[in-house]
Amino acid sequence: MKNELLVRAISEIDPDLIEEAAAVKPAAKFSYRKLASIAASFVLIITAFIVFAGLPGNSYVSIYGTELSSGASVFNAELTPSIARYSAEETVVTVMIPLEISARGKTTVKTEDENGYAEMLDEAGNILKCGSAFEITENTSFIWYINVSESDSEKKLNIIRENSTETVTVKYDFSTNTFTAVFSE
């Protein structure tokens, strides 16, 4: 056979060249099955997250146990006379707003007014946190106090998470002693 010498000669090539080629492992192949299993795992994780933590960017906020929505909800106002103040020009009253917020992970509650004030309470009514801003990590009840007057009757509370901010806007009506609350993203 004409190529016999060549065939035999190839047996005599240097050992390192033979081992170099033998060491080639199959290249990673794109596999639809692998992709499908990764996608299924991803869906499972997202589903579990939604089930246990709720949809991201969608806090549950309630006042007096009533869930707030983008439409206005009207509540009878409960004033705190002890800290009501009177200025020379107009009356300033403090409205007590009991809020419940379901936090989705690390969340900061912050009054838009720098002088705003809120208190986070435990079930026994003890103050756990207070100030114009504090962090919450789970379902939290607290009382937001707003100081309002005729000329400055609207206040806002921001619920801030990593990538989103939601706002609770409250407007006090002096004539009816009620306030409306609106929740917006």
Partner: protein, 186 residues
Amino acid sequence: MTDEMIVDLYFERDERAIEETSQKFGAYCTKISMNILGDIADSEECVNDTYLQAWNSIPPNRPEGLAAYLGRITRNLSINRYRAKYADKRAASQFGVSLDELDDCIPDADTLDRNLSSKELGALISSFLREQTASMRKVFVLRYFHGESVTDIAIRMGYSESKVKSILHRMRGKLKLRLESEGVAI
């Protein structure tokens, strides 16, 4: 167990050398033989003969690369068996196809008169392969030493089959020119 330790067993004439060789290189040798013969019974016989030949040749030989050493023995034994079995015709195995391909490497000129032994020609081919890129070299050795199919090489290298064919075609052409420039007669 490292290759050196297995070789030491051969030198100590310890029969565990065969067992360790079989464990570590059995699959490798069987694959080479299967690529050539395409028959598992024949391949197993060749691999057993490989162990026997290794036993008889180590010592005095002390191979640096045991895999290559055993692979070479397996390849030669399998080629012998292939020749005996298919003396009149070529089998439709991968090896038969690769033999046809190697015809492309044979120099045309009739005036070439430098006759080399297979060892010398092997050294020349090694030198030629070292001048190529690593990936081209691997494709060539996988095809013509290990007797792998184009499809298997494509999977191992992560290439398309047409790319592997193209590399092999170019390599054969280059090798032919190299052999002609060296005046080698085949």
